[in-house]
């Protein structure tokens, strides 16, 4: 009853807002109303930016955005009679309307994200049986060993879960490949992994043919297993100990639950984070998705499967005949199918796995291309808006998730639109300088602030734009190609274990320099035009300013494609764990300070006896979570530092037995809390103003760095060429 009354109030209020916003008021009124609203939004931000206040501020923003839309629609389109202006003008208009539409979809989804909830506990005797699937294609056995070991180490009754390594790199098809080298490699892999599984207590499974890629591989696993629940981990996603404890309880609570998804936490920075050095202080790109959007989707029962770090119900998968494989994003496709069949999903906002993400720009783009193309395929084949069985909120949620990947189109248009005016003198936006200022400026300010209200500490200002820009250049052709040939794209496994040993330009960097040069010319043209055509300086200034913004973005992107050398091959994780450090037969009490899959840094209390040792074999002894007795892990001493009166010793692991894998995994993955605390360190909101200043500084420096790499690259090549010709002579 109250709900109905509230709905009536809400609809009335919304209608009133629409009415007020669509009044054809004059410029001055908009200017004043816009300024007052912007100031109010800023003031609210100073006091409260959550709960009802957040929604009030968002309502303010919505009103201004709608006013912009009204104005843009009714009075800025060039006349149809001037096609050369009208067509680009209309494209720009559509691009802006797409952005506004996506903004409103996001508003709906993340209006009030669900707060994290306590995991429902389950009594030991009724714990469901779980099959843990680790699909692999070409990953390194050492990486797989860690993942399997971590999976095995999960805190769950051993008789109630089975770990399966689903190997698609050792299928019969591969082993009988026409290429002898490939066939031998596959055969070797087949044997090696079988052995590894046996040692770690996992089951190895492969199949005849590599049909339907990852979805087919998982379905093969389904056929050969019987557990009530299925947990899926990518080969590089090692689960922490409490993973199953935190997730399986939900399945008992809701019999129609098909999915519990958890966030993907990455140990290594993506190319942008690495090259811009933001990994330690700025929230990662995917935190916006896992930190806010999935929680928002969860509110509308629309959290979807992200391919890994999730638990699914076999019964549900049986209904949909396994994982769907029409698109190359089988995860989301499976989720949409099951949602439409009335199954529910839950999102647990707690990082319970840690994994790797693409390290190089090229593989990053490769991964994004797959996502974009897959989502386009879903849009094409399972159009969510009209998908029968989905609730209205679910339809909107899926529309948002899929339509998001159309961003390369508007980005491209925003990038080149100012050039139409600067280079070709086309009037694609008919407004005076004053109108542009009053409407567009208030719109942009409000837009930035709304994003800050929505994503605040999860996404800093301008970072979304930068990510979209760096992807656009290569995603645009990918999206166009999938639009033309929706069935063509095939699943490609993203390489995540690359390391960058030398600083270099990415092989995909060329277009970025080209665009940067064009925009730079645009700036020069702006200056010339202001000088030579003072009578339209107002419009030139506005358009030139827009172009300058694009240039700043393009400059920052130069830094992204200028790949920095990576010092540590693998990421070190800070932990604090008591152990004993032993050289020979003598054991000293010590603390493990940080750890990676390759080694650890151990702090030993003041022990003069160790002062002389610079290298050689050593060991640490600690009690893993799965054992009751201390176990020993052999080490090689690499270096040592004196820190105060203690000694910090850097050493690498010597993994000769299976148990060593399990011990390393126990060090790194035992404690889920450490990921959360690392994330929360980065989650602070600098605000629109400071965030913008910070971004400007980053962009300036990265422009310089990108250009420096470019020049060095050129001179290297010239040197090499000279050397080559010299050699010939």
């Amino acid at each position: 009853m109250i709900k109905l009354a509230l709905a009536v109030v809400w609809i009335t209020a919304a209608a009133c807002v629409l009415f007020i916003v669509s009044l054809p008021i004059n410029l001055q009124t908009h200017l004043i109303a816009g300024t007052i609203v912007v100031i109010l939004m800023m003031v609210f931000k100073l006091f409260r930016s959550d709960g009802t206040w957040r929604l009030v501020a968002l309502a303010f923003g919505t009103a201004i955005v709608l006013r912009y839309v009204y104005w843009r629609t009714t009075s800025t389109l060039p006349p149809v009679t001037q096609l050369e202006n009208f067509i680009p003008g209309l494209l720009l208009y559509l691009a802006e309307m797409y952005s506004v539409f996506m903004l409103f979809l996001s508003l709906f989804i993340v209006a009030r994200p669900l707060r994290p909830r306590p995991a429902p506990s389950v009594e030991e005797q009724v714990l469901p049986t779980v099959d843990v699937f680790i699909p692999t294609y070409n990953e390194d056995p050492v990486l797989l060993a860690d993942t399997i070991a971590a999976a095995k180490a999960m805190d769950y009754p051993a008789d109630r879960f089975t770990v399966w390594l689903l190997d698609d790199g050792g299928t019969e098809q591969k082993r009988n490949s026409d290429s002898v080298v490939d066939a031998q490699m596959a055969q070797r892999r087949h044997i090696e992994l079988q052995q590894l599984c046996e040692e770690l207590g996992a089951r190895y499974l492969t199949r005849a043919r590599n049909e339907h890629a990852k979805a087919g591989n998982l379905n093969n696993g389904l056929e050969h297993s019987t557990g009530e629940l299925i947990a899926v981990f990518d080969a590089d996603h090692a689960p922490t100990r409490p993973f199953l404890r935190e997730t399986v309880g939900y399945f008992r609570e809701d019999k129609r639950l098909f999915l519990v998804q958890t966030p993907h936490f990455f140990l290594n920075p993506d190319p942008l984070e690495r090259n811009l050095r933001t990994f330690e202080k700025m929230p990662s790109e995917n935190e916006m998705f896992y930190g806010i959007i999935q929680r928002g989707l969860d509110k509308w029962n629309a959290a979807f499967f992200c391919g890994s770090a999730a638990v699914l119900r076999r019964e549900a998968l049986a209904e949909s005949k396994g994982f769907s494989g029409i698109s190359i994003t089988e995860d989301c496709e499976t989720a949409i199918e099951l949602h439409s069949r009335g199954w529910n999903s839950v999102y647990v906002d707690k990082p319970l796995i840690a994994g790797l993400q693409p390290a190089t720009f090229a593989s990053f783009i490769g991964q994004r291309s797959r996502w974009a193309q897959g989502m386009m395929q879903i849009l094409r084949f399972r159009f969510p808006l009209l998908k029968r069985g989905l609730s209205l909120p679910q339809r909107l949620c899926y529309m948002s998730s899929t339509l998001f990947w159309l961003f390369p189109f508007p980005r491209t248009i925003f990038l080149f639109a100012p050039l139409f005016y600067l280079f070709f003198d086309l009037q694609i936006f008919t407004a005076s300088g004053g109108e542009f200022l009053a409407y567009t400026l208030s719109y942009m300010l409000v837009n930035l602030m709304m994003q800050n209200y929505l994503y605040g500490s999860f996404r800093w200002p301008w970072i979304s734009e930068l990510y979209e820009y760096i992807q656009t250049v290569h995603l645009l052709p990918a999206v166009i190609s999938v639009a033309l040939n929706p069935r063509k794209p095939t699943f490609k496994v993203t390489a995540k274990d690359e390391t960058i040993t030398t600083s270099r330009l990415s092989e995909l960097s060329r277009p970025f320099f080209l665009i940067f040069a064009v925009l730079l010319i645009g700036v020069a043209v702006t200056a010339w035009r202001i000088y030579a055509e003072p009578y339209k300086a107002d419009v030139t200034l506005v358009v030139g300013g827009w172009n300058l913004l694009n240039l700043i973005m393009a400059g920052a992107a130069l830094g992204v494609v200028a790949e920095r050398r990576e010092r540590a091959a693998t990421r070190r994780v800070k932990i604090n764990r008591r152990c004993e450090f032993g050289v020979g037969e003598i054991w000293y009490p010590a603390t493990i300070e940080d750890v990676s899959v390759n080694g650890a840094r151990v702090r030993v209390a003041n022990q003069g006896a160790l002062a002389g040792i610079d290298s050689g074999q050593a060991a640490i002894r600690f009690t893993p979570h799965w054992a009751s007795e201390p176990q020993t892990l052999p080490l090689l001493i690499r270096n040592k530092d004196r820190v105060g009166d203690a000694l910090a010793i850097g050493c690498s692991f010597v993994r000769s037995q299976t148990i060593h894998h399990r011990m390393v995994v126990d060090l790194i993955f035992a404690d889920a809390g450490q990921w959360s605390s690392f994330q929360s360190l980065r989650r602070r909101n600098p605000g629109v103003f400071l965030g913008t200043i910070w971004f400007l500084r980053v962009a300036l420096f990265q422009t310089y760095r990108g250009l420096y790499y470019f020049v060095r690259n050129r001179s290297d090549r010239t040197d090499a060429a000279r050397a080559a010709s010299g050699a010939r002579a």
Partner: protein, 803 residues
Amino acid sequence: MKRELAAALMLLAPGAALAQGTPFDMSPERPAAEEQVPAIEPPQPLPAPQPEPAPIPEPADESAPEAETGDDPAPEAETVDDSADSSVRHLLPQARMRLNGESDSRAWAVYLTGDQAQSAARLDLAYSNAIVVAPETSRLFVSVNGISILDQSIQSAETLSHLSLDVAPGVLQPGRNEISVRAVHRHRTDCSIASTYELWTELDGAGTTLTFTGDAAVGPESIEELRALGANIDGEAQIAIVAPGLSRSDIGADLLRLAQAVTLSTSLANSRFSIAASMDEASQDAALVVVVGTADEVAALAGVDPGEIDGASASLHAPAGGVPTLLVTGRSRQEWLAAIDGIAQQVDRPANSPREFLVTEAVRTPNASMLYEARSVTFAEFGIASEQFAGRRYARSFQFAIPSDFYAGSYGQARILLDAAYTSAVLPGGLINVYVNGNIATSVPMTARRGAVLRQFPIKVTMEHFRPGVNTVLLEVDLLTQADQVCAPGATTDDTPRFALFDTSRFVLPQFARVGQFPNLAAVAGTGFPYNRAERPVPVLIGRGSTAGLSAAANFLANVAQVGGRIVPVQLVMSPEAAREQNALFFGTPASVPASVLTQVGIDAQAASSWAPIRATGSVAASAGTAGANPVTMEDWRTRMDTGRVSQAVDATRNWLSETFDLTADMLRFAPREDPPYIPAQTDSLVVAQGLNPAGTGTWTVVAAADDVGLEAGGRTLASAANWSQIAGHLAAFPAEAGPPLVLDAGSVAFVASQEPSLGNYRLIVANWLSSNILSYALGLVVICIVLGVSTSRLLARLGRRN
């Protein structure tokens, strides 16, 4: 036709234009415009259908035009008597008609009787021009009914030149005749835009006449021919109503009805009424005397035998050499009232029947189309033809009319969709300026460097300066070239076209808010609203029943009838109580009009009682402390002060805001403030003020002068169409010396529905009100957003999954 056109091109187009080909050819690639513009320079409308080759008198000699009537440079003395001479017809609707800039034209209509049209006629023309006008490249064109009768160089910088042209038989027509004059000017030496403002040619009203040389007297001879009644040299016509019965019985309302009927029967731009009980001075100079009363009353005056009158009778007598007299009589009052009805029926129209246009042809043709709602009108419909132009500043104007309940001044934007072209010679940066009723409405730069063809190029025109009734829009285009900047000798004579305007250009009026507003004198001046809609008699109170007040009322109502296009029924009342709930009119002095009425319309009654104006006999002592024409404002003083840095920055911001957004501090308001009562200044001669009636259901309009002499003079002030059209706001105070009135805008305005209720109209009304009360809009937006935000929050707590 095509071939003829081509031949015309060959003859008229100078070499340069021919070599250029057709620079503005819109047709081949785009179907938008089909016009083919003849490469004729100077600008000329597309050839109108010409029934026969027009005799074009060529000026034989620069110094002494062959057809000159005389060399007398001071013609006024001799022409004074002309008004009485029915064989001479003054043509100008105003004392002097000026044609400005490089190319300007005017056209207006003159009505002639059948006899006049058939008699041989001579057109006399007197003009002078600015000394900087280059005679060799400047020409004056005159045509009557589309037939050219004059095309000669302009060369009368020193004195008034008199031209005398024989009008060929058949050119003049009975009834409506359109006279159009056009001047093309070039500067002798200067090529700047500014110099084009120095160019003018002025026609003199006294010397610009039609003289009928036939034997018969050819003035109007029947009531139907009243339309052919001519004005005097100033374009004004005095109409004296003589009603001997006025002193004995209460016939004021009937006379007001008669005045309106007469004004609608004529085609005069400015008719000046006087009402008296007997022939007096006014009736001696009058263009028309109207004698009204029973046969017995008028017999002596009109020289008729009462016995001959055997019923309602209205007839026009035009004694040779005398003043035409309209005799309205009958055996009884009922009968002469019926006679008035007889005249009125011919010209009246029912209330609330929509009009297609407002009649303006006496001053300007074509008549102003009435735009009641969203309309898109081509320039062709406004009488603007496609044309090319070789000068520096192109200017063309057109007029249209909007209804009295127009309420879109704050938010509205009309658009001009321009079909035009300019050559690459035109330097970029020139402005297209649009003026509405003399106020700048838009300024758009032309930015193309290599010329451009503009197709339906949108120019937004704010409706801020629109007013009810007739509006004039002036389109001005600056077209400087490199050659103009150098301005080599002879540069001004270059007549290569550089600009073309096509008659497919459009004026687009969007749907606008319509609601009656009280007070709004502009609506009275524009269309006579709300009195023009009256179906029951409008109460009119004339202070102490003075004839001065009655004359003023006659002039006021004649104007209302003219702009309203119908006769307003009136009844005289003695007390404002009778008009409590109606739209009413009051004429008088502070002493004769009840104080409560003055207070009601926002005049300080107490202060008004001591209103003692200085007659315009000499210099007017500016009286400090009273709200005169130049009130002391804080704003003025603020700009005069030298101030510190901070306030300078504040001022700079304020200036920037007002320049960029036209935003001033007084726009920041929640609602309009109440105006303090107006205190008439010594310099005021006539005050027209409007306010709500006490019942709040209509409006009262007061026309007040300090005394009866002033009221009489005030009546004459109102008779001038130029003055009448400046009445606006809630109060207009005319100064004793000629000049524009002080207009006070209405503070709070009451609305009265004038349209069928419709959501669309309400929306636009709200938009306009909020656009003029900005803070209310902001407040409304903020409040409703808070409601939306809070209800969203509450609703979200109950929708979807909950925490």
